[in-house]
């Protein structure tokens, strides 16, 4: 018969093990109530880069003593992941605020009835391009879509200054851009659909495909490919490009189509919005006022992301251009949203395949 015996050392170790087990269980039990809601908090879903957004939220927390509970998203599913989570949670919202790093998904959320109307204190100071006319979302701290080139590989004389230059045979096999199904490339293609029309846009991308267009996973990866020199030209955002410039990588940033008669480039603000049915609506409004302020815009301009302030007179470093100095694509965000699905569907079926 099996006789179960233990020496005293083993018994002592077993007791010690149970003690540790109990200690960690207690730790978990005491940690857990922190996740249950309290009134003095605000839940925010954030699609802006965590390393830039976190200091802003911590500063808000310190200043107001309101606990901030963030959920961050990655660039691989950027804006798309949290937008869908917000839609899925529509009937039982968990978030109070959505800090979106672009606009199209904010338009989608407005149409889905996920948002609450709220015009923050600085709402009237903003250009109409960067806010919703009904006050469902408000923009701040923008970035622009830019071309980046590897300066070691692309001579100054041949650098493209317009999107249409990219179809030239000398750039065949050298261009990369991010998968438009996730991130800001999708809205950019939708803008081209709106400005150029379906046929011209589709011809443009078909030519790029025939020239060996490379699809990166994200804007960050687009930049990395150009920095590494595996691709010579990339189509990305200013914040990603600035990351490389700060690290003194051999790249140059080009704002495309800035001349008279050209279409300009897409300027994409961050957007902040209150969620309908927010459990901490007052705190949500306080946080949105904090985000759409000179202080936050200045912080984001001085951060590595180098985002352009949208409010007038905000202190910014020299390397961050005034938003007025850039010629933006003048298209309504509603139209961009309308064209997003057909344009990305075209891209998926004709370019990615």
């Amino acid at each position: 018969m099996y006789i179960h015996t233990m020496d005293s050392g083993k018994k002592l170790r077993l007791k010690l093990f149970y003690l540790v087990l109990a200690a960690f269980t207690l730790l978990a039990i005491f940690t857990f109530p922190g996740f249950l809601g309290s009134q003095n908090e605000v839940v925010i879903y954030v699609t802006h880069d965590q390393d830039y957004a976190q200091p802003i939220l911590e500063a808000f927390e310190k200043e107001t003593r309101i606990k901030v509970k963030p959920v961050y998203d990655t660039e691989a599913s950027k804006t798309v992941g949290l937008t869908n989570r917000l839609i899925a949670e529509k009937n039982n919202p968990q978030a109070d605020v959505f800090w979106n790093n672009e606009v199209v998904r904010a338009v989608q959320l407005k149409k889905e009835g996920v948002l609450e109307m709220y015009k923050p204190k600085n709402y009237d100071k903003l250009n109409s391009l960067y806010k919703d006319s009904d006050g469902y979302w408000t923009g701040f701290a923008a970035r622009a879509r830019v071309l980046i080139v590897n300066t070691n590989l692309v001579d100054k004389t041949i650098r493209p200054d317009s999107l249409e230059d990219l179809t030239k045979p000398e750039f065949a096999g050298l261009l990369t851009l991010a998968d438009p199904r996730f991130g800001t490339t999708g809205p950019h293609i939708a803008v081209l659909y709106t400005l150029w029309g379906k046929e011209k846009t589709e011809n443009f991308f078909t030519t790029l495909k025939n020239n060996g267009l490379d699809i990166a996973q994200s804007n960050g990866q687009t930049r990395d490919k150009v920095v590494e020199g595996t691709k010579w030209i990339g189509f990305t955002d200013t914040d990603d490009a600035n990351d490389a410039l700060v690290n003194k990588e051999p790249i140059a940033m080009i704002y495309p189509d800035q001349k008279d008669g050209q279409i300009g480039t897409l300027v994409i603000p961050n957007t902040a919005m209150v969620i309908k049915g927010a459990k901490h609506a007052n705190n949500a409004k306080k946080l949105i006022n904090y985000l759409i302020s000179e202080k936050t815009e200045s912080s984001l301009a001085y951060a590595k992301s180098a985002q352009m302030p949208l409010l007038p007179g905000v202190d910014r470093p020299k390397n961050v251009p005034a938003v007025e100095s850039i010629k933006p694509m003048n298209v309504s965000w509603e139209k961009i949203y309308k064209n997003l699905k057909p344009s990305v569907n075209f891209f998926e079926t004709s370019i990615l395949e």
Partner: protein, 475 residues
């Protein structure tokens, strides 16, 4: 049925998974044979070290290789383009996932009765013994290891995504998110489950049948078999061990550390945060205990019938993102806020996600428990807590501890579900790592990888310290 893009993605995923399974099993057979049959110095240490790649997120392997190959570009060794290819992905995932098959096959070889092989060696040559006894004995384990590696690879999205290859999981992800076609996404999610379910059915009904594919009894011995031990061969094997360990463990962790020490110089307190580390630890700790209990329940209720076993094992191929989305729809209700808005949602999701694997561990262990022990116990004790405490628990203790350690590792390194349903204010090391990698803030990654490795190793260190389980076994 499937669009061209989806079909292409399915073929990519299948090709990658088959490649990774094939090479992982090949490496594992070599390692397991060498470690079991030859007196190689440090063999016990290597048995442990070859499990470490499992604790490193696969995308860190990809990231490190990318940086190494970029560095080689400076010396005109232009090999970077090979990484962004299907063979490149197969290579990286093989280095990340070979420990799965190694662990299973190594245990199987150790479990072959020693006297059987020694007797056979007396009458015939080692090659015939290998073919007739050893291969036959480890066939069930090898097939199961192949299938498990296939499944894990098939549902991996981060490495193919990082290296820019279209795989089936990306298509499911896109249907869920960009186009919000939930029925389509669910339809696509069922395809891998169906494929893998068919494979499990063939494997369990016709090939493996009721043979156990894994054994913990083998923890009790590891005696080299009486075959010739040429010195040169052993040196060659040892060198290959070292190279493999360098490529699969030292490189993915080391490159980031070297980069940080030489260039970034990020101090630990800014690179990570205590909260993220403690979150990872306690969610893994609590979840792993819950997984063991839940899996025991699933085992008792479903695993004793073949159909139930095949059904749950097929669920291993259900993409984690599908679990995440389903959990949002199931639990996001005002009356369930105490679950949905807290880490309880994660614990429940982990239980469902990992229960098939842990239940299978329990099943395969039960197959090897001598039923006479339980019958004898019933003669002495009536069915009671006392019998459970004195007989059942000691018989199952090794597998329960193993299940707990496995569950702890699985939770600590789980990414897709955690990313999708993490409650507000909660983040784990692996989600933080993934986010900073994608934002390009690589300088923040290096020390977090060390923290993740440390947290993942804690349970095995705890068991070693408290119970000395393996100390006297591997002579």
């Amino acid at each position: 049925m499937l669009s061209n893009l989806e079909l292409h993605a399915l073929l990519n995923s299948t090709f990658i998974s088959l490649g990774v399974s094939f090479f992982s099993v090949l490496i594992s057979l070599f390692l397991a044979f060498s470690l079991s049959f030859y007196k190689i110095p440090g063999k016990r240490l290597f048995s442990f070290l070859f499990l470490i790649p499992l604790l490193i997120p696969p995308y860190l392997h990809a990231f490190s290789w990318m940086h190494l190959l970029l560095f080689l570009e400076n010396y005109n060794l232009s090999v970077i383009r090979h990484l962004n290819s299907l063979p490149g992905i197969i290579g990286i995932l093989t280095l990340a996932y070979f420990p799965i098959s190694f662990f299973i096959i190594h245990q199987a070889i150790k479990n072959i009765p020693q006297h059987l092989i020694d007797a056979a060696l007396q009458v015939t040559n080692p090659v015939r013994v290998l073919k007739r006894i050893v291969f036959a004995a480890i066939l069930p384990s090898t097939l199961t290891a192949t299938l498990l590696t296939f499944i894990v690879t098939f549902i991996t999205f981060d490495v193919p995504a990082y290296l820019g290859k279209n795989v089936f999981i990306t298509q499911i992800f896109k249907s869920f998110t960009f186009t919000s076609e939930i029925p389509r996404a669910l339809y696509l999610s069922v395809i891998p489950v169906f494929i893998v379910g068919s494979m499990w059915a063939i494997l369990l009904l016709y090939l493996v049948k009721e043979k156990p594919f894994f054994s913990l009894q083998s923890f009790k011995k590891s005696v080299p078999f009486s075959i010739q031990q040429p010195r040169l061969l052993k040196i060659l094997m040892l060198s290959l061990f070292v190279v493999l360990f360098l490529l699969s463990s030292i490189l993915p962790i080391g490159i980031l550390q070297v980069k940080n020490i030489l260039y970034d110089k990020i101090p630990f307190y800014t690179a990570s945060s205590f909260g993220v580390i403690t979150n990872t630890f306690w969610i893994s700790f609590i979840s792993s205990i819950c997984i063991v209990f839940f899996s025991t329940l699933i085992y008792i209720m479903f695993f004793r019938k073949m159909a139930g076993r095949i059904f749950f094992l097929s669920l291993l191929a259900l993409p984690p993102i599908t679990y995440g989305i389903l959990f949002i729809y199931l639990f996001n209700h005002p009356s369930l806020n105490v679950i949905y808005a807290t880490p309880i949602i994660l614990i429940i999701a982990y239980c469902f996600r990992f229960a098939p694997l842990v239940s299978e561990l329990l099943h395969t262990h039960t197959q090897q428990v001598n039923p006479q022990y339980l019958e004898a116990a019933r003669l002495v004790y009536p069915p009671s807590l006392r019998m459970f405490h004195r007989i059942v628990i000691p018989l199952y203790k090794p597998v329960l501890f193993l299940a707990w350690v496995f569950s702890f590792w699985l939770v600590a390194t789980e990414l897709p579900i955690t990313l999708l349903i993490q409650p507000p204010g909660f983040q784990t090391i692996i989600t933080r790592l993934f986010i900073v990698l994608h934002y390009g803030a690589v300088e923040l990654m290096s020390l977090m990888t060390v923290a993740l490795l440390f947290v993942s190793l804690l349970p095995i260190l705890a068991i070693y310290f408290f119970f000395h389980i393996d100390k006297k076994n591997d002579q």
